[in-house]
């Protein structure tokens, strides 16, 4: 999920470059780390730290908290079993902002005790900091950043354990036509990078079933023109790429305008606030997809992205057990890692994308978003 606008990201990129020039000495420290390992059974990385970079406060703070809970769960299990080689966590709160993340990235790469990064949480901050981490050679696994372009930058240290927006868009289109039985889909987005990417992928995957498209703007509240267009097109389903406020207003005004077809949106709208904005009556029956499923039963942490963060942590810890002593070895280990995580099977392609991901559909029924029983799109 990206929670940033283009202009912010541009600024963040500038800051990122500045941070990079300042961080030259930091990266050399990182290299030193690799030579100082002892060759015994005890890894040189014992007693060192993993870092988390993401939103812990701010409007998306709850998501970061979920991730940290997942990480702490994995570390607790590991430290209980490996009392002689404990690993702890250092958290860096970016508030999900691409403006704040670069300075924290500099701090992270200058910290000798950090051997791996869980994060960054969102796509905007990932794009703003990716180069910094890549040039410092710090391996990272993001539990939640889904923008397609991140893994196209050539940052070989960057990985994610979550399906990207293209995977989600293709799955959503499939769900609409095969499971929901839609024949004429009207596709709408809000013009932001995340939204355009997702809606564009849905549209291209739908092919001839996409009968029209329109673009609203962020902050728009009067959707009457779009509603008229949707109704005039004779669509039996609407897909919206964007966030929950506009998604809720659109769903509400579509229903009030007499639209009776399906309403579907992506992970940007998968939030209880969607139901509040749309009102229970209009929200009922809405389909909200996300590349993350519910935790397996008995899992000790709750919330979206907790399982992904748990899995990402376990991959680092597995590298440690495997005897990896430096960033390079860890990165190599992650690249060839295969395993079954709490969120599903994990293996990475050469770009750092997860090979196989499952997209889930969350449904609104009886005025609540059912976060515990999504349907997996097959």
């Amino acid at each position: 999920m990206i929670r940033s606008k283009k202009s912010l990201r541009g600024l963040a990129a500038l800051v990122g470059v500045a941070a990079l020039t300042l961080s030259a000495c930091g990266s050399s420290n990182n290299d030193n780390k690799s030579t100082s390992g002892d060759s015994g059974s005890k890894s040189a990385l014992c007693g060192k730290n993993l870092a988390f970079l993401g939103a812990l406060t701010g409007s998306a703070g709850a998501l970061g908290q979920n991730m940290v809970n997942g990480i702490n769960l994995a570390l607790k299990d590991y430290n209980a079993k490996n009392a002689s080689c404990k690993v702890s966590l250092k958290t860096f709160d970016s508030q999900g902002s691409p403006d704040k993340a670069p300075a924290l990235a500099t701090q992270i790469i200058n910290d000798d005790s950090i051997f791996g990064l869980i994060g960054p949480g969102f796509s905007g901050e990932s794009l703003a900091t990716g180069k910094t981490f890549f040039e410092a050679g710090l391996p990272s696994i993001s539990p939640s950043a889904t923008n397609v372009t991140i893994t196209q930058q050539g940052w070989t240290t960057w990985h994610r354990v979550i399906g990207n927006d293209d995977a989600q868009g293709a799955a959503d289109a499939k769900y609409l036509t095969s499971t929901a039985g839609a024949k004429k889909v009207y596709v709408i987005d809000d013009g932001q990078d995340y939204s355009k990417g997702l809606a564009g992928k849905v549209k291209s995957s739908l092919g001839s079933a996409a009968i029209g498209s329109d673009q609203i703007t962020v902050g728009q509240t009067d959707m009457s023109a779009v509603v008229t267009k949707v109704k005039a097109s004779g669509a039996d389903a609407v897909f919206y790429g964007g966030y929950y406020t506009e998604a809720g207003l659109l769903a509400k005004q579509l229903r009030q305008g007499g639209f009776t077809g399906k309403f579907m949106s992506g992970d940007g709208a998968e939030d209880p606030n969607f139901v509040k904005v749309a009102g229970a009556q209009a929200a009922n029956g809405a389909l909200l997809s996300a590349p993350a499923g519910p935790a397996p039963s008995g899992f000790g942490a709750t919330g979206l992205y907790a399982t992904q963060a748990y899995d990402a942590t376990n991959i680092f810890l597995a590298a440690l057990k495997d005897g990896a002593k430096d960033s390079e070895a860890i990165n190599k280990f992650i690249g060839s890692y295969t395993g079954d995580g709490a969120s599903g099977p994990i293996a990475f392609d050469s770009h750092g994308d997860i090979k196989q991901s499952t997209i889930y559909v969350y449904k609104v029924a009886n005025g609540t978003l059912d976060v515990d029983h999504p349907e997996a799109i097959k």
Binding site: Q220, T228, N273
Partner: protein, 346 residues
Amino acid sequence: MDLGALFGNYNNFLDFTVGGLVFGAIYALIALGYTMVYGVLQLINFAHSEVVMYGTFAVAWTFVFFHGTGDASWSLGRALPILLVAVVAAMLMSGGIALLVERFAYRPLINRNAPKLIALISAIGASFALAEAMGLRDKFAKWFHLNEKLANYTSSPGSSGKAMGQARDVYSNPVSIQPHGLFHIGGYEVTDVDLLVIVAALVMMFALDSFVRRTKFGRGIRAVAQDPESAALMGVNSTRVVQVTFLVGGLMAGVAATLYMIKIGSTRQDAGFILGVKAFTAAVMGGIGNLRGALLGGLLLGVMENWGSAVFGSEWKDVVAFVLLVLILLVRPSGLLGEALGKARA
């Protein structure tokens, strides 16, 4: 460009037009606040957008107070008792905020004969301060140890009674008002909500027009608008006139906020910005300083936005609105009905 989307089907054309008129009526009511203050002070009150925003929160809070936090869908008739309280609450809130703006952002500067530009900047500052204060209301509640009690007012009320989200996030009225069709014009079904918004806006506009043209205070407002010094010499208390002007603009904003919440149902600490920009545009389009111009400008802007969305795509909505503004100002620099508030015939 897709002219067929707009003109190809008569019913769609009506749909786009009525949808535009409804939102245009809300723009027009807000535009009154800009145009009144401009008429009297020759200043744009940029804090007026926040005056509206506070009104929208007052409406949602009223519903949380009387109804609670459970999600509900009510017809307009069922919501009417709470709506009547809400409109009073919104008018008090918006009127109060408008008076605060006048008292603290304008009067100290006007009394010292500060240049107009300074008052403009002070209004922009007030706008930011007010919007941020709304965004930080959870922190204020905490100072007074009321955060537990006021949780459902400081962040979006959860259906289970437990508040969710943050103060800066979207804040929804738990009761969403379902429009019901009343009659058809062609194939377009006019709903009670549409009708209420348009009629309420017209009635308020008429009432204000009469107030300015027929009452003693109205005469004072027109006198100060024409010539503040002469008006003062004739015994008009210009400070009081300015105060009343702000108050009246605020009261109209309160009504607009209520209509907005009936139609949209949720608000945010930054919701005033777009409404403010649009209403300001409407005021300039119709001829700033002219009350009937504000109505014409608002309705025209609303309709043009929807027609533009139909023909060029919704992403061009704002472009169409502002290009239209530029074109109108090129031909008529003072706006469509450009004449000063003071010159209005008595």
